[in-house]
Symmetry: C2
Subunit: 146 residues, 2 copies
DNA sequence: CTGCTTGCAAATAGTTTGCACGTTC
DNA sequence: GAACGTGCAAACTATTTGCAAGCAG
């Protein structure tokens, strides 16, 4: 299990979707797969530059967009102006605390129930992969109860 | 019931919150109150210019931020890059269709149930005023069932 | 009159685009 | 070698900020 194998498996994934396995795409996917937090374009680029020679920001933008179209990456809007990106894995959700800024992760079950409710009531099919909510985190909510 | 009365009532609302009742604030609130769709800063400014002499974009930005802090306006992120604003009224929610772009409004009940679920499960207090979801609208969902 | 607000102009920040060259298949 | 993807530089768009002058209380 060498890092070469990781690269090879990523290339296979890309070619399976009919994409050219370019070094830009490989490096972006490689970095995305290493953690499941959501990262900005600049974070991603910085991590790539630590081990690959060079990549232009515009290439990172274009690459992420391509990966998104092919179901390999997800776009997450946390509420500040920069778009975050994550490797497409299991559904999990976030809440950004409006008081302290903490980002909490939450499991999928209540979200699925909610999505089903909405389908029943309105016929819509809600994307429930990486929802972002705002509000008060557990700690700030508890404090404001006093 | 003259338009003067509208202006006077808005001024009262502003002063009640300890804000100076400036013409910028009055005109922004007046325009926001006229419809409950969500409008961009430029939309709002354009509507103001139809009847008031002049207002700078930066003033609209600052005014909306102030109104938000005082609970008179809500910020809504529909997913494109510009922030939309609405008059703060009853809770209602939106779904942006990822296929056709339609924006559907939905009532509050399932959302409240969901918020209570999350409080029970995670202790968080979710803001459920103007949530924006993404997915497939009724029509596009039906079509993709074939 | 005193401080909060505004207009103006300029600066940011994130993102997008056109084009010539390099790479992948 | 044909099509696709990348780097580079420049353009855009929405938004923010500093400052001097204006208006509200």
């Amino acid at each position: 299990m060498q890092s070469t194998d990781v690269v090879e498996s990523i290339k296979r994934v890309l070619r399976d979707r009919g994409l050219h396995a370019t070094s830009a795409r490989v490096s972006v996917l490689e970095v995305l797969r290493e953690g499941h937090e959501h990262r900005s374009v600049e974070d991603i680029r910085a991590q790539i530059l630590e081990r690959y020679p060079m990549i232009d920001p515009s290439t990172v933008y274009r690459t992420l967009e391509t990966l998104e179209e092919h179901g390999l990456a997800v776009r997450v809007e946390l509420g500040d102006k920069r778009t975050r990106w994550a490797y497409m894995t299991d559904a999990h959700h976030h809440m950004v605390c409006r008081r302290c800024g903490a980002v909490a992760e939450m499991g999928d079950a209540p979200f699925q129930r909610f999505a089903d409710d909405l389908t029943g009531a309105y016929g819509v099919r809600v994307d429930m992969q990486h929802l972002v909510l705002h509000g008060l985190c557990r700690r700030c909510a508890a404090r404001s109860d006093t």
